[in-house]
């Protein structure tokens, strides 16, 4: 309950934004790879799913 008292400090908090940026870059590259790693046939098949 008294969350604030568990730890008194963590050094190097400034590394958080760097970690965050790296994480996002990883996710973004993963999405790009996912999207462009798929064959045209697969993509076409999937984009037409609402019409089947």
């Amino acid at each position: 309950m008294k969350f604030i008292n568990y730890l008194t400090s963590i050094t190097g908090i400034s590394v958080y934004p760097m970690i965050s940026m790296l994480l996002f870059t990883t996710v973004f590259l993963f999405a790009i790879y996912w999207a462009f790693g798929s064959s045209k046939a697969t993509i076409n098949e999937q984009k037409n799913l609402p019409f089947e």
Partner: protein, 721 residues
């Protein structure tokens, strides 16, 4: 050819039920919106009744529009599209019905509890703990039905719309559970588990992502289904939709702290919120462009087809709102927009344009389909479109203007360095904008009434197909893979893996932002002079929460000259450590109250008494409602010990056994205020019951007089040294 063709029927009845609920609650939510808009212009419309006062109706409006109108709209669209994309009837008709009636029960309970003053005091999460539990149960019913339908599907691949539905379900579950941790004191009263800065961070992590994962991702899923269906052509780029999905769900969750810029939230968390909000522009616009370009080569049809008209404006409004959002996350822009009507304009472009118009487009497309008939009147639907569009413009433009004007007036200084305007000068300058906004909202509502007539007539002329017969080949149990297969195609087929991956994506941002704020002491420097509320102040605070004072008053002085000159010293994180829940607010229709009991803002008890009874008696032209029931209502002393015990459980350092002492102390403090008021009784605007120490108004005065006091004591000590 697969010879194993199975015959089955789609359940349209559940879609119909959710469609009717969407229309009904939409009209109710918007009507309440028009009423509260008019209350700001004509305060008499508060009717001096607790249940119809702005502070109680405003949460009713926001909850009705978000969770009743858009919520039912989501379910309407999901139940229709999911069955067709999965080529399967919903797994369980019984669960579908439990979901429908359960959700409507929640809405009715929410409406009743909110107007009767049972609220947690956390924006967009105001519902009390039993309703929170009911929401969780019904959400699980929805999820179970959805997942079992996906598992029992006859189409191997999950279309991108279903990804959005899965991410919506898992993220809303996470947000709702984390933000709803509260300690019950009675059946309809609880205190937030978190306090102050931590409560604010959790609340806006929730609040922002309620926008993201309740108002946006499910509607993006619906956009990816209904726009291609209405335009009769596949989505512009399926590859872009994949990137859109993963980038959006990963980024959105980080952006919450942009609601807390220049507040007492640690700086690094504010910066992180800003950076991710700006990055969010890319996937948001990727989605918008994908939606609009789906209509490439079909723009001529937009002129004729009212469904497409609604959808094009919806996606355009999404683009506008998601461009504006990142801009509002810049600290220099946020300094102007925050606490003003600019934010109100921003959210209504999203709510009226994106959610409203996409919902209307879906309804106009679905109703003729399910009733096997033509729309009763295209002309009336076109009227709806144009009057609705005009309504949005008439709503948004005055509110943008009002936001700028608000900021301009309150930041101006005279040549000799004094504030140029009183807060009330600004309020009076808003009246024209507020009147125009009411008209805009009214026009939007008139459009909805046109839709109700149109749907009514269409339904009357058609024949509803409750069970739509269809057939599809059964799904082969074993997948035959020809050649090499990419790893992600496996995930695309597996909904549970998709759910876990989506949960991991959305959990990362929340964990990185929240864990340090909870664990690192240096993030919330304590101030020795900040003391827990006395029992009377605590009771007064509960009245403040009950009346929804936070809907118009902030308690957060930002570190700007114009604010410190008007209100006093800027707010520190350590001031709020006993605030369960925090009451920083998000809009200043009235002035900030963080320093109400001290410095330039300090007023006498008698002033507060008269101000609550009739605000215009102390502040001519004030638009604040009157609170006559505070003169007749008595503080319920039987609850006070339980409240103190709850606070002790939450870590507030009252002495051991203080719950037994609390009522005596409360009566003593109330008597002191009573005695002080008695001295100026002749000037008091007394109610029928006269003056008494146990009146609710006395507790509220005690709370207001406490605001800012501790920090004043701390400063005096520092000065003495």
């Amino acid at each position: 050819m697969n010879s194993n063709i199975e015959r089955f029927a789609y359940d349209n009845k559940i879609v119909k039920q959710f469609a009717y609920a969407t229309i009904l609650w939409g009209a109710v939510g918007m009507l309440v919106g028009v009423i509260i808009a008019l209350q700001l212009v004509f305060p008499a419309l508060n009717f001096d009744l607790a249940q119809t006062t702005y502070g109680r109706l405003r949460p009713l409006h926001t909850n009705a529009v978000i969770f009743a109108f858009v919520g039912n709209g989501i379910f309407m669209g999901v139940y229709y599209s999911l069955q067709r994309l999965a080529k399967a009837r919903m797994w369980s008709d019984k669960l579908s019905r439990i979901h429908f009636w359960g959700w409507q029960t929640i809405i009715v309970l929410a409406a009743l509890t909110l107007v009767f003053g049972f609220t947690t005091g956390k924006e967009y999460a105001e519902l009390e703990w039993p309703i929170d539990i009911l929401i969780t149960l019904i959400w699980v019913v929805f999820g179970l039905n959805m997942f079992m339908t996906i598992i029992k599907r006859r189409e191997r691949h999950l279309y991108v719309a279903i990804w959005f539905f899965i991410a919506t379900w898992v993220t809303v579950a996470m947000l709702h559970i984390v933000n709803s941790f509260e300690l019950p004191v009675s059946l309809l009263k609880s205190y937030s588990w978190y306090a102050g800065v931590q409560d604010a961070l959790v609340q806006w992590w929730y609040g922002h992502n309620a926008v993201a994962f309740f108002l946006t991702t499910p509607y993006l899923g619906l956009m990816y289904y209904f726009i291609p269906k209405a335009a009769n052509r596949p989505v512009y780029s399926y590859r872009l939709s994949i990137i859109h999905f993963w980038a959006l769900i990963f980024l959105y969750i980080w952006a919450g702290p942009h609601h807390l810029l220049y507040t007492s939230l640690p700086d690094w968390a504010q910066s992180l919120g800003t950076v991710f909000s700006i990055m969010l522009l890319a996937p948001s616009w990727g989605g918008m462009i994908n939606g609009l370009l789906t209509l490439r080569g079909a723009w001529d049809r937009v002129r004729e087809d009212v469904v497409l008209k609604f959808m094009v404006v919806a996606v355009t409004a999404y683009g506008m709102a998601t461009f504006e959002g990142p801009m509002l996350s810049l600290k220099n822009v946020n300094a102007i927009s925050h606490f003003t009507d600019w934010t109100i304009a921003h959210v209504h472009v999203g709510a009226l344009g994106w959610n409203g118009f996409l919902t209307f487009g879906m309804i106009y497309w679905l109703v003729p389909k399910m009733w096997k008939t033509e729309l009763y009147s295209r002309k009336l639907a076109n009227w709806h479109f144009w009057i609705g569009t005009l309504g949005i413009v008439l709503y948004a433009v005055p509110m943008y203007w009002a936001g700028w004007r608000h900021n301009e007036m309150l930041t101006q200084f005279t040549e000799d360095g004094r504030l140029q305007y009183q807060f009330l000068d600004m309020v009076n300058g808003m009246m024209g904008f507020y009147a125009l906004r009411s008209l805009g909202g009214l026009l939007f509502l008139v459009g909805v009434i046109f839709m109700i007539v149109n749907v009514w007539k269409t339904v009357a002329a058609g024949n509803f197909v409750a069970n739509e017969e269809t057939e599809a080949p059964a799904l082969a149990k074993n997948v035959t893979i020809h050649g090499q297969e990419h790893w992600h195609r496996v995930i695309e087929r597996k909904p549970v893996q998709m759910l876990i991956l989506a949960l991991v994506m959305v959990a990362i941002g929340g964990i990185i932002e929240m864990v340090p704020t909870f664990l690192i002491k240096s993030n919330i420097p304590t101030i020795a002079e900040v003391k827990p509320y006395t029992p009377l102040e605590l009771e007064g605070r509960d009245i403040y929460i009950r009346e929804g004072c936070y809907t118009c008053h902030s308690q957060m002085v930002r570190p700007f000259r114009a604010e410190t000159a008007r209100y006093g010293e800027y707010s520190k994180a350590g001031e709020f450590i006993y605030d369960h829940p925090f009451q920083w607010g998000s809009k200043r229709t009235g002035p900030d109250l963080a320093r109400e009991g001290t410095g330039v803002n300090q007023k006498s008890n008698a002033w507060h008494y008269n101000h609550m009874t009739d605000p215009t008696s102390t502040s001519p032209a004030s638009i604040m409602p009157r609170y006559p029931w505070l003169l007749t209502g008595k503080v319920d002393e039987s609850m006070t010990p339980a409240k103190i015990r709850a606070m002790i459980t939450l870590g507030v350092p009252y002495p051991e056994g203080y719950d037994q002492q609390a009522v005596t102390d409360m009566q003593k403090q109330a008597k002191e205020i009573y005695d002080d008021l008695k001295l100026s009784e002749a000037q008091l605007l007394l109610g029928e019951d006269g003056l008494a120490p146990d009146q609710e108004i006395i507790a509220l005065i005690a709370y207001l007089q406490k605001l800012g006091r501790d920090i004043e004591v701390a400063n005096n000590k520092t000065a003495a040294k």
